[in-house]
């Protein structure tokens, strides 16, 4: 069926309106439906962040993500409430990640399927993590050396690990 408005494109939107008890039906193509404002979705294409508020609502059945929930009320730095975040799907500042941290792992897991960060570490702000990663890598290398019975090298790596651990504690 062709669009009743432009009579050129295929009609893909079916609009039924009842005004004063009188029912009218319209078959429109997407473009004309958009022009006539008959198709609410068209204004903003659906994307992943639209679902975030859905995820949030679905965390604990029956409990709405209200500001009263303990520990997740609002971000003190920028004033964003958890409810606002749930609605917009956007954080206000970096502190929001701390403020809402009790709920975040569950949300991020739903968005990304995983929750632990494994990417690049900035030199300036990632010092501690950088060292932790380095220790992790060294441990693996040490195990490998042990397996290969290269104990001299393993001991060398062990010393390096100790050094880094000391730096972390200090």
């Amino acid at each position: 069926m062709l669009c009743q408005e432009c009579k050129e494109k295929k009609a893909t939107v079916h609009v039924t309106s009842i005004i004063n008890g009188k029912k009218t039906e319209l078959y429109l193509c997407e473009e004309c439906a958009q022009k006539k404002g008959e198709w609410g979705f068209a204004a903003e294409p659906l994307s992943l962040h639209n679902f975030i508020s859905g995820f949030l609502g679905g965390l604990e059945p029956g409990i709405k993500p209200k500001t009263e929930l303990p520990g997740i009320s609002r971000c003190e730095k920028c004033g964003l409430t958890f409810e606002e975040f749930a609605q917009k799907g956007r954080f206000g500042c970096q502190e929001c990640y701390e403020a809402f941290s009790s709920q975040l792992p569950a949300i991020l897991k739903k968005v990304h399927g995983r929750e632990e960060y494994r990417g690049k570490i900035p030199r300036r702000t990632g010092g501690v993590l950088r060292k932790k990663r380095e220790i992790e890598d060294l441990r693996k290398a040490m195990e490998k050396s042990v397996k290969e019975e290269d104990f001299e090298k393993a001991a060398e790596i062990r010393d390096k690990i100790r050094e880094l651990e000391k730096e972390l504690e200090g």
């Binding site: 920028c78 956007r90 954080f91 990640y97 399927g113 494994r118 690049k120 900035p122 300036r124 702000t125």
Partner: protein, 354 residues
């Protein structure tokens, strides 16, 4: 300035060059979302904050050795801003009026950095063909250089902190634009795209989120930014996209072997229409250009350069077209001018012949 020169001046480097796997892959784009630690994200910042962010970032960018030109978007007319979107240098969102929005771009239009979009910084690199690894190397280099000078929002648990939770972690979105006419004609497109989505990739139209696919062109990008490192993300994509490219090539050979007359007819008709039509809308043009490009890659058409699709898919866009023609055009006249531009390009001078 002649039309020829205006066309030439309107091309980014990625549109002209044929990159690796250029028979199927049009372009590779990577972007990193980054924020300064001491300021609210743009969506919640005061104009004063945004101004300070802008000043700090601009100062750093000016020092980098990439020859970045800094454009204050407030001073750029709406139509010109749209041409930047059509050339994939910035998002539609960034073209809208807003405080302290800036775009920094290099002369080859390979590197572009949006300031005060959804995040304080969106760093992008754009290459012809399949160049994910090189792209990652360059964008990392730029990111490192910026990080030398600015304190970036980062935390150990979640990685780089971004305005939207879908970007937190690496902040990396890698997108590869592919042309898949063979799979479509062979009836295998839906199946292939479905499989890609199941492997953690997102498939979208040419202009990203919410855009439709036209001209059998699709953008394939990574979905998640948490749980995989940048290197793993890119490696994974290289694997998947190489497979898609292989499938597309097989489909094309299959078509040539089994349905040659039909394909030849379709390709030559497209060439004929593109070379002679008087009026053409964007959608029709993209469909025909897709057919023409298929013909070039199958060696059924020899006199047209393979980059015709990468070039024209951008040049015929409404804002680009009006810029090239040097005047604002209402939609009916645009169709006439679009056809004129395509005819010109196809009949083109020596530089346009392979």
């Amino acid at each position: 300035m002649s039309l020829d020169k205006k066309i030439k001046k309107s091309q980014s480097e990625w549109m002209k060059g044929k990159g690796p796997m250029g028979d199927v892959v049009i372009s590779t784009r990577l972007r990193l979302a980054r924020n300064l630690a001491d300021f609210p994200f743009p969506g919640r910042a005061e104009p004063g904050d945004l101004k300070e962010v802008r000043n700090r970032v601009e100062k750093v960018l000016e020092k980098l050795n990439y020859g970045l030109k800094i454009l204050d978007l407030k001073e750029i007319p709406q139509l010109e801003r749209k041409t930047l979107v059509e050339r994939h240098l910035m998002s539609m969102n960034h073209a809208e009026d807003g405080p302290e929005k800036v775009l920094a771009v290099d002369e080859f239009e390979m590197i572009s950095i949006m300031i005060n979009e959804e995040d304080h910084m969106r760093i992008q690199v754009l290459f012809p063909g399949m160049q994910l690894e090189d792209g990652l190397r360059l964008i990392n280099e730029i990111d490192d250089a910026i990080e030398e000078e600015l304190v970036i929002a980062f935390n150990e648990k979640f990685g780089y902190l971004t305005s939207c939770p879908t970007n937190v972690g690496t902040g990396l979105r890698a997108s590869v634009m592919v042309h898949l006419p063979g799979l479509k004609l062979a009836g295998r497109l839906g199946q292939t795209l479905q499989l890609i989505s199941r492997l953690g990739m997102v498939v979208r139209g040419m202009y990203g989120e919410g855009s439709e696919s036209q001209g059998d062109i699709f953008q394939i990008s990574n979905q998640v930014t948490l749980g995989a490192s940048e290197g793993e993300t890119v490696e994974n994509m290289v694997g998947i996209i190489s497979k898609v490219v292989e499938q597309e090539r097989q489909a094309r050979q299959y078509l040539l072997k089994n349905r040659e007359d039909e394909i030849r007819d379709q390709v030559q008709r497209a060439y004929g229409l593109l070379s002679h039509a008087y009026r053409m809308n964007t959608e029709e043009a993209l469909g025909l250009l897709s057919d023409l490009k298929l013909g070039i890659e199958l060696d059924l058409i020899k006199e047209v350069e393979p980059s015709i699709l990468s070039q024209l898919m951008v040049l015929i866009r409404p804002a680009m077209l009006q810029r090239i023609m040097g005047q604002e055009l209402e939609s009916g006249l645009r169709d006439v001018k679009r056809a004129e531009l395509i005819r010109k390009k196809l009949s083109g001078g020596e530089s346009h012949v392979r």
